[in-house]
Amino acid sequence: MSKTAIKKTASLPELVVRPEFEVSDLEQAQTGEVAIKLSWVERIWNVDAVRKSVILLSLVVVWQAYTVGFDVEPLMLPSFSASFATLYNALFHGDLIFKIWFSIKVLIIGYSAGLFLAAVLILLATATRFGSDLIAMATAMFNPLPAIALLPLAMLWFGLGTASLVFVLIHSVLWAVALSTHSGFEGVSQTLRMIGRNYGLRGIEYVWKILVPAALPSILAGMKIGWAFAWRTLIGAELVFGASSGSGGLGWYIFESSQNIETDGVFAGLFMVILIGFLVENVVFRNVEVKTVIRWGMQR
């Protein structure tokens, strides 16, 4: 160090040495109120469900006021009350409930068959590298192919019936689930894999007890996307040829209403589509997530 540097130190603040101390007893009582309760209005407003119901209700009110107040042509946009009345009638006096049941039945068959096939594919993929390559490629190719585009072929191969619907539903579920499960498996940490092998797990047992739970966030994401695709495909497919397949489903109800220019019927159908979609996504899947991956801290 040169002399100038030493000089500079003179202007630097000196260390202030103070006596030490130690608190022997913290006085609990004097810290005042640690938590105060909010007023009940604030508390009610803080409940998510309350705020959202209010929003939903105001949407309905705006819709109703607009259609009634401005005398909107019911063929273009029916009022909420008219749509709701149509829905009520169709459900309890018409056959909408059977149409819905028909759609759901087909959906469940297609979805479960798709899941089953996806599981088989994934097992093949985990067994050998060739299988893994083959499936990775098939998935990459078929996943971007909209299932509905296969409908013309399906009708040719399986005729105009439930079989065709199930075929396109399988296609819409299978690849989405296989894709995300496969990438989920690949993402399972090396340590967890070694742990599983350490306890002598192998084959199916290893897949079921280690890989599946470890990749569950991805698998669930795939199942959700698969469901969304299947739901979209089904409604689309029913729009195309629901009537020819006998009873017809929810999609067909919408199409029929629009053909007859019963716009309130279209809205009634859409209500049901929204309701079912909402129930599956926000009740069924959400519940599964809360009980598994969220509880295990693998997903927020």
């Binding site: 998510d48 705020r51 959202k52 929003i55 939903l56 063929l75 273009m76 060739f130 390559d133 083959l134 990775a136 490629m137 990459a140 190719m141 078929f142 996943n143 971007p144 192919l145 909209p146 509905i148 585009a149 296969l150 409908l151 013309p152 072929l153 009708m155 040719l156 191969w157 966030p217 991805s218 994401a221 996307i225 969304a228 695709f229 739901w231 979209r232 495909t233 409604i235 689309g236 729009l239 195309v240 999609g251 919408i254 199409f255 209403s257 629009s258 220019i261 716009t263 279209v266 159908g269 859409l270 589509v273 929204i274 979609g277 909402f278 599956v280 996504e281 926000n282 997903q299 927020r300």
Partner: protein, 299 residues
Amino acid sequence: MTSAPSIEIRPEFEADEIGKAATGDVARKLSLWERITDMNSVRKLTILVIVLVIWEIYTRWAEVSELIMPRFSSTAEALLDGVFNEQLLIMVWNSLTVLVSGYFIGLLIATLLTTAATMTRFGSDILSTLTAMLNPLPAIALLPLALLWFGLGADAIIFTLLHSVIWPVALNAHVGFMSVSETQRMVGRNYGLRGLIYVAKLLIPAAFPQILMGLKIGWAYAWRTLIAAELVFGGSISDTSEGTSGGLGWFVFANQMDLRIAHVFAGLFTVILVGVLVENVIFNNIENRTVRRWGMQAR
């Protein structure tokens, strides 16, 4: 174990000199062949070729009717025929222009919605209520309404495309913003980021995995909706747009009506090709340049 064994005491030893030379190759390059077979693209290409060959041989050997399952060679021919004689490329172009306009307008609206939602709790409530309701509603179900409101034409399709893009994109972006960690937010504020700069430089990159996921899902829905719309109403829609030849979905549908199954296959091939290009080239590239490079892969 009945009685615990006691320690076995052994003499110590020390190696004097560890021959550096004796260890052989510490790290050796793999041989060319080993590296080639390790390459994903090579293995996958081989598999693709094998599958195509099996398809061709099987359809020839079992004499499968061309109406049920055309040969690979006839499909390839039909593809060429479509490209050179039946304006297949123009149809692809038609579909893509509609798709791109729908997608980007959708993104714009989603951005506005998300911005509003991120700023206030009320906005956030509105967005989550709307998405919870409308995200599960298949866009195609809105097509009858869209046709009623906008008439037969590209506008009706764009309307349904908007619906299919907006909700997944807004939903994912919003969730992404909400789950940016408190630490990262505080770091950003600490360095004096405010307002739009804060959103652009901190929130968006931090939420990017989730945003990208939304973009991908939005694309997937839009692509499916477009093909479905063209299949269902393609004929009527294309009739009105002056002299153009409809979209890719229409190509598939019309050929199926005429029982030209090889052409249907060719159309499906094109659909796959476009899908693979977008998902595996465009999105993968974005992913590689961003989230993967930053080591924050979306689940």
